[in-house]
């Protein structure tokens, strides 16, 4: 048991995986001696050596592509893309190869790789450093998309991702890399890749999110508790495939659904959950679904970033709105 930040939990999971499975290799830009620009791989190169932790050239497409080759050979590459804003170049390899190697070869070759990247805004980062494009990956059959929202879940989910026999895209909310600490059992216990987490039970409204904004949702729930509203807060955590059963059960129970994410609204992953509500949980729904998201705009540079990100207040407002329906 250790008190860890989210980024420390990521590092602990990587370390555990390197230890337990000789097929695991960590690779990416600056993941070696520098320990990654967010220090997620700090000390791993020193401990495990350059045969297990590889600094790559500045080649995102290549990093994904060689990971496919490594994985087809039974290695378990865990590749880091330095920021999600630079992950687009991997999409060709991820969609056209990683996601379908098993299917194309009827299981003869498989692709047990993990592609990690910090994502999201709120850290006053330069241009192209605040993107949130999880929905794009969640649309690709054959991939898993996982987003932890606490140190414990980061540790357990990353271990599962690495142990999983299929390709997993793992997005780490950088705004909460160091925002808080949590006791993490470093016992190598993995968390399931097909379960949403109920972070707070409640009867009146289901607040569904993932990543850094789950924290704002929890805070909003506390505020709303003061106003007599009992919100249930859910962390989707594994967006692809996602645990619709748990989410829909909650919405059926509360009759109200607020979905919160950091990505632009249109065709974001919130749409998928709302669609599922419209298909499966209409019965008993007492209010329209509300999505709390940025509008369809480019993430602004730091000075106006706060106008873009959904805030605790935005979540409260949405909850109040859906509570107004009876």
């Amino acid at each position: 048991m250790a008190e860890l930040t989210l980024v420390e939990a990521v590092r602990s999971a990587l370390s555990k995986a390197l230890e337990e499975d000789p097929a695991v290799v960590v690779l990416g830009e600056d993941v070696g001696i520098d320990g990654g620009v967010f220090r997620a791989t700090d000390g791993l190169w020193q401990h495990f050596g350059s045969g297990r932790v590889l600094d790559t050239p500045l080649s995102e497409a290549g990093i994904a592509g060689i990971s496919v080759g490594l994985a087809a050979q039974g290695m378990k590459p865990v590749a880091e893309i330095q920021f999600q804003g630079f992950i687009h170049a991997t999409l060709d390899q991820m969609a056209n190869h990683a996601a379908r190697l098993r299917n194309r070869t009827r299981g003869r070759l498989t692709c047990p790789m993990v592609l990690r990247a910090p994502y999201g805004g709120g850290v006053h980062a330069p241009e192209h450093h605040s993107e949130s494009i999880e929905a794009i990956f969640a649309h690709i059959p054959g991939l898993r998309v996982v987003i932890p929202s606490s140190p414990q879940r980061a540790y357990g989910l990353l271990l599962s991702a690495i142990r999983d026999p299929d390709p997993v895209v793992f997005f780490e909310p950088k705004r909460i890399y160091r925002a808080f600490k949590e006791d993490v059992a470093l016992d190598g216990e993995a968390l399931p890749l097909d379960k949403a987490f109920v972070l707070r039970e409640g009867q009146d409204v289901s607040v569904i999110s993932w990543g850094a904004v789950t924290r704002d949702c929890l805070e909003a729930a506390e505020v709303m508790a003061g106003e007599g509203v009992d919100a249930e807060v859910l962390d989707v955590a594994t967006l692809k495939p996602y645990d619709a059963a748990t989410l829909m059960a909650s919405v059926r129970k509360t009759g109200r659904c607020v979905i919160v994410h950091e990505a632009p609204r249109t065709a974001g992953f919130g749409a998928e959950i709302a669609a599922r509500v419209a298909e499966e949980a209409l019965d008993g729904l007492v209010a329209p679904v509300r999505r709390v998201t940025p509008p369809d705009i480019i993430p602004p540079l730091p000075r106006q970033e706060q106008l873009y990100l959904p805030s605790k207040d935005d979540v409260c407002t949405a909850i109040r709105e859906v509570m107004a329906w009876q």
Binding site: S59, A61, G65, I66, S67, V68, G69, D92
Partner: protein
């Protein structure tokens, strides 16, 4: 040895001058068997071994027969769009003959010859081109990659495979094949560069058949050779006559030796010519002259090897006929076998998406199973 940039910048001032050469490079060209069937003195040892030559010849003829049957199947609606390797058989066979079984082939979509040589069954290849995924679940070289359609993406796979070998200290190499067009893709360069940095045991073979669909070689790149694209990655590049199966096999063997010795990757450009249309969906008369095509027939790889066999090794008309008969029989048998293969169950469209099916897909599968 070229000077390194870093050495230069620290160069003492008395040696300072307005212009020196930071580096020099040359791209060798090799051909052992000329278009008229003459063998050069410098040819490698196996080029005097009759049985080796017959093996190579047989491989090329089998490839051609396979292509012929595939096109016949396509024309009669029993195969999908198909890419023939007519005129380029020496690349596939030279590559495959140089490799060891435990090496891994990462092909593009025009190397049926290499796949067959390495043990992929012809009916499996028909099955793939016939639109059935099971064709990529082939027997024989179980670790080889399937055909790669997105041009150029395969190079990185080869680097990953080779990197796995070197990380595990295995005495194996990967061999990637692509076309002239594929050398314009960024991933080709990223792959070569990474292979250079890590000295990955990988061999990159470019089948420069002078065309990428309708785009001629000269409109694909201003580089005088494609082999010189290795220079930017700091790996050796070499050009061979790709219609000379001896030169191809020799170059790939030497490159594999380098890889196994821990000296890293190599790029080999094979100069060939696409005698056929791009695929069965293509009509090359729209963009190239028949005269150009005809002018390349005299260089094609099977005739020149047969001439050598005939003139230097007494290859007889009977042997030729027997060989062709055997090959045609085998291809026909494979074609018949292919046409007999039962369809996949409907559930197969779902079953291989993940190792374990997620809930939603399980439900889909159950529905499909009921059909």
């Amino acid at each position: 040895m070229p000077l390194l940039g870093r050495e230069l910048i620290g160069m003492s001032d008395d040696r300072m001058q307005a212009a020196v050469d930071a580096a020099e490079f040359r791209i060798p060209f090799k051909r052992y068997l000329s278009a008229d069937g003459t063998l050069a003195d410098a040819a490698p040892g196996f080029a005097s071994d009759r049985s080796e030559l017959v093996r190579l010849y047989e491989g090329m003829l089998r490839t051609r027969a396979f292509d012929t049957e595939a096109i016949a199947l396509q024309r009669t609606g029993r195969l999908g769009t198909y890419a023939s390797s007519l005129g380029q058989e020496a690349v596939a066979i030279g590559v495959a003959a140089a490799m060891r079984p435990e090496d891994v082939l990462v092909p593009s979509f025009r190397e049926h010859g290499a796949q067959i040589w390495r043990g992929v069954r012809m009916e499996e290849l028909f099955l793939y081109w016939g639109g059935d995924e099971r064709g990529s679940d082939f027997s024989g070289p179980r670790e080889d990659f399937p055909v790669c359609v997105p041009v150029g993406t395969q190079y990185c796979h080869g680097v990953g495979v080779g990197l796995a070998f070197s990380l595990r200290h295995e005495d194996r190499c990967s061999v990637v094949v692509g076309g002239d067009g594929s050398t314009s893709r960024g991933d080709f360069h990223e792959a070569m560069n990474m292979a250079g940095v890590w000295k990955v045991p990988a061999v990159f073979v470019v089948n420069n058949n002078q065309w990428a669909i309708s785009v001629p070689r000269a409109a694909q790149t201003a580089a005088q050779t494609l082999a010189q694209k290795a220079i930017g990655a700091g790996i050796p590049g070499e050009q061979v006559d790709g219609c000379d199966v001896i030169a191809v096999r020799d170059a790939v063997e030497r490159a594999l030796d380098r890889g196994r010795r821990g000296e890293g990757a190599t790029l080999i450009e094979c100069l060939t010519y696409r005698l056929s249309d791009h695929t069965t969906s293509d009509d090359a008369t729209r963009y190239r002259e028949d005269a150009e095509v005809s002018s390349h027939w005299p260089e094609e790889p099977t005739v020149r090897l047969r001439t050598l066999l005939t003139e230097a090794h007494g290859w007889s008309r009977d042997e030729e006929e027997a060989l062709r008969k055997e090959i045609n029989g085998a291809v026909k048998a494979a074609s018949d076998a292919y046409l007999q293969i039962d369809p996949q169950p409907a559930t197969a469209i779902v079953d291989y998406t993940y190792a374990e099916l997620p809930t939603d897909l399980k439900a889909v599968r159950d529905q499909l199973a009921e059909r």
